[in-house]
């Protein structure tokens, strides 16, 4: 169990309370990025390799830069030209359906996800002057 303690005597409690959603967003963004890198790395380990193009096409895309939400994607396919076919990698989904590489990567990281999010969100909230975690 984690204790969050707010110090009324610091005099910054009003600002700190207002800042909490931003801190949660920062922490959560950092967390999903960290999760995405783990998934990407494991996906690249699991994927079947011939030319290495599919593996090398693995990447992280960031989006959702709105005020209140963020999005991070781990994507395989496109982006890299396969030297054998001369085309961009267009078989990522086919390989995934036959020899899953992304799904196992997610399943491996899944048990860690909650803890990563929890830890990084709390770390951000704890950075506020009147808050101790």
């Amino acid at each position: 169990m984690t204790a969050i303690k707010m110090d009324w005597g610091k005099g910054t409690i009003k600002q700190d309370v207002a800042e909490i959603p931003n801190k949660l967003l920062e922490g959560a963004e950092e967390a999903i990025l960290q999760i995405a890198y783990l998934v990407l790395g494991l996906g690249q380990v699991h994927v079947r390799v011939d030319t290495g193009s599919l593996r090398d096409s693995g990447r992280i895309e960031r989006g959702g830069r709105g005020k209140l939400w963020r999005e991070v994607k781990v994507r395989f396919g496109g982006y890299i030209v396969n030297p054998k076919t001369g085309r961009l990698v267009d078989y990522a989904a086919v390989i995934e359906s036959r020899y899953p590489y992304l799904k196992p990567a997610v399943q491996e990281v899944r048990p860690e996800m909650d803890e990563i999010i929890r830890r990084l969100c709390l770390a951000q909230v704890a950075s506020l002057a009147s808050v101790t975690v």
């Binding site: 169990m1 984690t2 204790a3 969050i4 303690k5 707010m6 110090d7 009324w8 005597g9 409690i13 009003k14 309370v17 207002a18 909490i20 959603p21 949660l24 967003l25 959560a28 963004e29 999903i32 999760i35 995405a36 998934v39 895309e61 959702g64 209140l68 939400w69 963020r70 999005e71 991070v72 994607k73 781990v74 994507r75 395989f76 396919g77 496109g78 085309r87 961009l88 990698v89 267009d90 078989y91 990522a92 989904a93 086919v94 995934e96 359906s97 899953p100 992304l102 799904k103 990567a105 997610v106 899944r110 996800m113 909650d114 999010i117 929890r118 969100c121 709390l122 909230v125």
Partner: protein, 111 residues
């Protein structure tokens, strides 16, 4: 099938909109509490007033805990993890909810 269609991806999304709403409520309570403290004035150490003030602070911090819990729930509610992959309907959909049983204490130093 375009090359874009042929990609496979794993998507994570977060949204703190509900936390913002809750924080606005907390701020309202906070301002009311500060108003109450001002009205109480300095030097008056009447026990019942101090207890009342502490109760307000505890109430605020309980709401804060709720806001944090709602943020956690938002991870699940906003569909934080979804698969977008052509022809891979069987891959499935996952959600995660943070399991954070936080306790919030107040520290009423000074005031």
């Amino acid at each position: 099938m375009s090359s874009e269609d042929a990609t496979v991806s794993f998507s994570l999304e977060i949204n703190v909109e509900q936390a913002y709403t809750e924080i606005r409520r907390i701020e309202t309570l906070l301002y009311r509490t500060l108003g109450l403290i001002r009205r109480m004035g300095g030097g008056d150490e009447d026990l019942m007033k101090v207890v009342a003030k502490m109760q307000r602070v505890i109430s605020i911090l309980n709401q804060l805990r709720l806001a944090i819990a709602l943020t956690q729930a938002a991870f699940a509610a906003s569909g934080p993890i979804g698969w977008i992959s052509l022809g891979l309907a069987g891959i499935g959909f996952m959600t995660f909810a943070m399991d954070m049983n936080d306790m919030i204490y107040d520290s009423t130093r000074g005031a």
